[in-house]
Symmetry: C2
Subunit: 337 residues, 2 copies
């Protein structure tokens, strides 16, 4: 039997408090997954290992400043554990910017990656679609988008088992000449490159059939992700409201409840749990700030799956670099220090 | 009684063919609205006035080139009619880029507007929300976003009767320091300006409560608009599919049908019909390429409403410019020439 995958979990991140995160970690713990919680001294971890962290980074602190000022925060310590080889992956539902900054500093970039990107797997009707960058880089250059395409392709192949994935460029029209300066230049790079490039795709197809990999700058990706989330919520709420405005509707509503639940589950971000930060020398997963225990458990499983698939090693090999982080150490699990 | 508002309608634009457009124009025609069709010689206009246009611009032609090469196309001729004072407004469901180019050339910009913008009224739950730019300028500078905010404010006040409208800047976080280079600089301009600026808003709120006016560059706005459209469609389709997968669901589906219809109607782009092109010396409305006759009729009514509210004059006054286009001529309605 192999050692369990050690996942460092920031117990202090997220909007719902540490109890919810401990509950999620407990749910994910198994013979194959060993969550290690990073949190305040004395935190009740229900028997899971705790690494005490003196500090906490708030959701609205300025990322780079916070990471610099609080090296002993749970978020930074959990990232450092991956850099130091004390954990195989890190998961946080905390401040996304701080997670990015701490990962860059303590997990570090792969040698050939200029900008790590956040990759989210969208539950499109035609099959999963990897959207990146979903928010790591608010401004990006055409060559960054090309690198996102490379990383997304490798991700789709290794993690989603899609052979020879198709890459599309998110833009405001399918014709190559439609877009802004960034997408026009990125289109030219992608068309000249050796990935399977399917041209531009419009955002209207993101939930139906946008292609295996969809690339864009992090501002656009983040706008899309939040718009999807908000629209799904508003629409399902609106449907419930319309239904409950009449007796006939209420009876109908009861009858379609299982159908509604299936749809909600398929589209619920909690089912997916988190987003990978691609381009680092170790595995980092960013969970939604509002994650429930189920979402946290799924994010931890997502992180473990990345380790099992050797995602970082595959990215490093196929992008032509080598993993420079220390190999997995002998000791199976660190104790509180 | 006042003369009817003369709306020049491009009968050859859109995906559904000229019959659908003629039907929409017929539906909108009234004692207050006189649609004038611009289309191929011999087009059956069911009694509405026809101005014969020798040429047609296709949906996928390159905008500027097409407008230059085809001065006698229905789209260009309809725009020219407004510039020449032969019509009070123009409506086209054709090539958006060509509509923009032809409007800039023949209707022309207001003196103090650098970049006209497409304004779409979103049916948010908390009330209508004006999103601009929805696609006229794929790249924009911070001062353009400021101008969009000014135009959007005036629009919300004059057309939607919202006193002292609140302006929000679309970004990837509510904090002023969250965003890309463009939104960071635009935020500073808006915060220093004299509009009622409510700070950044995230895309997740676009359909719920994003504020009276939401500004962004045309790339981002167009991405949002198409994503909203696609997500609503995918979600309603998904709901129908889940419901019809069981007998119980089918019965429930019949019972909630009126509720579903109400929701669909509230969110259907056809109900709104079109988008205003703001910042010109005349009134131009861009209808959706896939417009049904209802959508065309609504777009024509939208255009007429803009004329009745003297939207262009109000914009010109309040932006501190004067309308330089020729005043409405004596002859009430042009005949086919």
């Amino acid at each position: 039997m192999t050692d369990p995958v050690r996942v460092a979990v920031d117990a202090m991140g997220g909007d719902r408090g540490s109890d919810e995160i401990v509950a999620g970690a407990l749910e994910a713990a198994s013979s194959a997954i060993q969550p290690i919680l990073y949190g305040s001294p004395g935190l009740d971890t229900k028997g899971l290992p705790l690494v005490e962290a003196a500090d906490t980074i708030g959701m609205h602190e300025k990322p780079v400043e916070a990471v610099r000022a609080k090296p002993d925060s749970s978020l930074v310590a959990a990232c450092r554990a991956v850099g130091d080889g004390d954990a195989d992956a890190v998961v946080s539902a905390g401040n996304t910017g701080a997670m990015l900054a701490a990962s860059l500093f303590h997990v570090r970039r792969l040698a050939e990656v200029d900008r790590p990107a956040i990759a989210v797997v969208l539950p499109a009707r035609a099959g999963p679609s990897v959207l990146l960058d979903s928010g790591a880089n608010a401004d990006a250059r055409p060559e960054h988008l090309f690198q996102f395409a490379q990383m997304g392709s490798i991700f789709a192949e290794e993690m989603l088992a899609i052979p020879d994935p198709e890459v599309r460029l998110l833009s405001i029209g399918e014709e190559p000449e439609k877009g802004n300066q960034l997408t026009l230049e990125a289109h030219a790079l992608l068309a000249a490159g050796d990935l399977r490039f399917g041209g531009n795709v419009e955002s209207r197809h993101l939930l139906s059939n946008a292609g295996d990999v969809v690339v864009c700058d992090g501002f656009t990706g983040n706008i899309c992700l939040k718009l999807l989330e908000g629209t799904i919520k508003t629409l399902l709420d609106g449907m419930r409201e319309e239904i409950s405005s009449s007796t006939r509707g209420k009876i109908g509503g009861l009858l379609i409840r299982p159908a509604g639940r299936r749809l909600r589950e398929r589209l619920d971000p909690d089912t997916y749990g988190g987003a990978y930060l691609l381009g680092l020398r170790g595995l980092a997963v960013i969970a939604h700030g509002n994650s429930s225990r189920t979402a946290i458990a799924n994010a931890i499983r997502l992180a473990a799956r990345g380790v099992e698939h050797k995602l970082v090693e595959r990215l490093a090999e196929r992008l032509g670099t080598t993993v420079l982080a220390s190999a997995r150490p002998e000791t199976p699990s660190p104790q509180a220090r």
